[in-house]
């Protein structure tokens, strides 16, 4: 078997993974065309043409499916494929004849083709109840339920612009949802329950105190533990991350918050954060109905009202956030008003606003 202790070899070299057509045209791609949803054609300075067929993936993949992908790649792509930064799988085809059969086989096997251009993209997400101890909600379940509902948008590219939805299952935000057109994130709503003995035994109290963004944690020297100031705690769970004896999970009160209007690209406007639209929908497995219908509504109002080329946030910036809340028929609450460190620059310092009902 192995030479034990072999370390620090780094990842396989990407060149080994590239198909010949990419090796030949590396750095020489001249332009591309969007053939149809899920299909891109890249044209090289050499005249070579590469077709990319993108299929949706649940990201959680069995090795059975990985082998299936490998077989498909062998059949259509000389044994080459890649995954995208949003966890889709892309088949790289150098023969135009193979494109339609490939698509047919993918669809047949349950791998939908789409998600390019102005389609809905795959939902970036995280571990949830499948693997993480920190999760305020599941990840794969809510994502599946939302993607089922929005499925048609994955397959049609006539949305006003790209639609990037992301999810994270707790405030650690491993899904880095904070700059998405629409983001949903698992949140807690009650303060951690302190197991004094556990804290005393297992946790580094200075680290626990430092972990709290709002300074809600104070030492409790008597119990060699800590106490939490209810008024200051906003349930982020960071204390729980550093100290398992600060349990924060509360099945009835945990749930999801929905943010909208962020983006990452610098195209036109610079990157921007998503902002709170709906503070809480309940955790309602298995299909998270409230979440799904809230997101559906959010997508539909954008599709209906945005101008061509307007990302979600660009649409809202044009009409104003007050109009967004009116159109979305969402209540604006005290939760929407920032009260963290950088709150001041978010307060409206002009009389330039629109009236709403």
């Amino acid at each position: 078997m192995v030479a034990k202790g072999r370390t620090d070899i780094g990842p396989p070299h990407y060149e080994e993974m590239l198909p010949q057509i990419i090796k030949d045209n590396y750095g020489k791609w001249k332009y591309f065309e969007r053939i149809k949803p899920g299909v891109l054609k890249h044209v090289s300075e050499t005249g070579d043409e590469l077709y990319t067929v993108r299929a949706g993936s649940p990201r959680l993949l069995s090795i059975t499916s990985l082998r299936e992908f490998a077989d498909i790649a062998d059949k259509y792509c000389n044994g080459h494929l890649r995954f995208t930064s949003r966890h889709n799988v892309e088949f790289l085809v150098d023969d135009p004849e193979k494109v339609e059969p490939l698509i047919a086989e993918l669809e047949e096997r349950g791998w939908p083709v789409g998600g390019t251009g102005n389609c809905l993209n795959n939902i970036i997400h995280t571990q949830g109840w499948i693997h993480c101890h920190s999760a305020a909600t599941d990840a794969s379940g809510p994502v599946k339920a939302v993607m089922d509902e929005l499925f048609d948008y994955f397959k049609t590219d006539d949305l006003p612009a790209k639609l990037k939805i992301s999810m994270a299952c707790c405030l650690n935000m491993c899904g880095a949802v904070h700059c998405s057109d629409i983001a949903f994130v698992g949140i807690h709503r009650t303060i951690p329950k302190i197991d004094d003995e556990g804290v005393a035994k297992n946790c580094e109290i200075p680290n626990v105190i430092a972990a709290c963004p709002t300074g809600a944690i104070r030492p409790n020297p008597k119990a060699k533990s800590v106490s939490v100031n209810e008024e200051k705690c906003m349930y982020c769970g960071n204390c729980y991350t550093v100290c398992p004896s600060m349990k924060i999970i509360d099945p009835e009160n945990d749930g999801l918050a929905i943010f909208v209007g962020g983006k990452v690209s610098n195209a036109r406007s610079g990157p921007s954060f998503s902002r709170l639209a709906i503070p809480w929908v309940p955790n309602n497995p298995p299909r998270w109905d409230e979440l799904v219908s809230a997101i559906k509504n959010l997508v539909e109002i954008w599709v209906k009202n945005a101008k061509k080329g307007e990302r979600y946030g660009e649409w809202i910036e044009r009409i104003g956030w007050e109009k967004f809340f009116e159109i979305a028929e969402l209540p604006f609450t005290d939760k929407h008003i920032d009260d963290f460190i950088f709150s001041v620059p978010t307060f409206r310092t002009t009389t330039n606003f629109k009236y709403t009902k």
């Binding site: 890249h42 890649r82 499948i130």
Partner: protein, 403 residues
């Protein structure tokens, strides 16, 4: 398959989007995996997860790359008492041969649950669920086959990059090469946690930022150019002839009004001095417009998600850097090492670089890592008059000067 019913998860096998439940069930022959599904059904009933922290686990010589995970009701679910993840460092750009993929699958069949994430949010190929006993053998077999682990804990995390020159007409530099090079150069930083906290690097070939580096990386490297957008006048005419609303969809949306379209002549022009290389016009007319030729990257710092001081987007610290393959990216590495050194010396435990810069002040950061202040670093200069002076900038009082 276990005789337990899973009515809740069954609901998630319905619908057109590929089902993760079906994926899990594909590996249900594995007892551990089967119980993981049952445990998930239980979570669905209880509306909470059933995992907990536990002892730190890993492989010899590495401080990271494995996430230890333990079930909080092991009496009921003995087969997932331990259910650790291994993070396998992906090849740059997430390219695979079918054999490489099969190889991974085979190893994981032998040593784990047969479940993966392709890929994790940082970019690794995530192997989901194994026992402590299997970690070292699994790692050894991975290594034997040319795979290595990615980062976790307080270390450099697995760098990632966009598809770049491999398949994109917008790549301003070789993102895959840089990503591979940095990953290999910094193996030690990646595998042996030693820093105040995690540090992430993400690399995008242009301002479209297809790996979200500005939002998700402590160090964001984003391609750009210094000269002019290349215009193919004929191709512009074709777009115009095809009926495209160039004025409305392209020109009117240019953030600095740097491009113009003369409808009569079907002529598109760019005012280089005012173009901020946002990519928009190029995105809309890829056949007619191309990035410049004098390419490099903008370097930004401090991006991260919510915890602790809320999310930061990365901040420009080097407006333009040539990325020189020939000297192994010496300038970039030199800067990176100075940044790490400063961060390592000054940060508190669990303080990301962005938070440290905020706490210490950008001026201190720039001075101590040796960067010149540039107007490109800010949206706008400060509004408050609370600035500091270095001793050598002051008028030194001479003897007898005092009245």
């Amino acid at each position: 398959m276990s005789d337990k019913k899973r009515p809740l998860l069954d609901e998630l096998k319905k619908g057109p989007w590929p089902s993760f439940v079906k994926e899990m069930e594909k590996q249900a022959g594995n007892k551990m995996t089967e119980e993981a599904i049952d445990l998930l059904e239980r979570s669905y009933e209880d509306k909470m997860c059933h995992w907990k922290h536990g002892g730190i686990v890993g492989v010899r010589g590495y401080g990271g790359g494995v996430i230890g995970r333990y079930c909080d009701i092991p009496e009921e679910f003995p087969n997932v008492q331990e259910f650790h993840t291994m993070r396998v460092n992906q090849p740059s750009g997430w390219f695979y041969t079918s054999d490489a993929l099969r190889n991974l699958a085979d190893i994981w069949e032998k040593h784990g649950s047969g479940l993966t994430n392709m890929h994790g949010a940082t970019g690794d190929a995530v192997l989901l669920g194994t026992t402590t006993d299997h970690l070292q053998p699994c790692f050894d077999e991975l290594a034997e086959n040319g795979w290595d682990l990615g980062g976790s804990g307080s270390d450099l995390r697995t760098p990632s990059c966009c598809v770049g020159p491999a398949r994109c007409n917008n790549a301003c530099f070789d993102t895959l090469h840089l990503c591979h090079n940095l990953t290999n150069e910094y193996q030690d930083e990646l595998h042996r946690p030693m820093w105040p906290y995690k540090f992430k690097i993400k690399i995008s070939g242009c301002a479209n930022d297809c790996v979200s580096s500005i939002a998700r990386a402590d160090l964001s490297i984003i391609g750009t150019w210094r000269d002019s957008i290349r215009i193919d006048a004929e191709a512009v005419k074709e777009y115009a002839a095809s009926g495209m609303d160039i004025q409305g969809l392209v020109v009117d949306k240019c953030p600095t009004k740097a491009c113009a379209f003369d409808k009569e002549k079907a002529e598109f022009t760019v005012d280089d001095e005012n173009c901020v290389r946002c990519m928009h016009c190029i995105n809309k007319m890829p056949k007619a417009l191309r990035i410049g030729k004098d390419c490099g990257a903008t370097i930004l710092i401090g991006g991260k998600a919510t915890i602790v001081q809320s999310a930061f987007l990365s901040w420009v610290i080097v407006p333009f850097m040539k990325l020189n393959k020939e000297d192994g990216y010496a300038e970039l590495k030199d800067l990176l090492e100075r940044i790490w050194e400063w961060w390592d010396e000054n940060a508190k435990v669990r303080e990301r670089i962005g938070e440290l810069i905020y706490r210490k002040g950008m001026r201190t950061f720039l001075k101590e890592v040796g960067l010149e202040p540039k107007a490109q670093m800010v949206h706008h200069p400060r509004a408050n008059p609370y600035f500091f002076w270095w001793p050598d900038e002051l008028v030194q009082k001479e003897e007898g000067d005092e009245k």
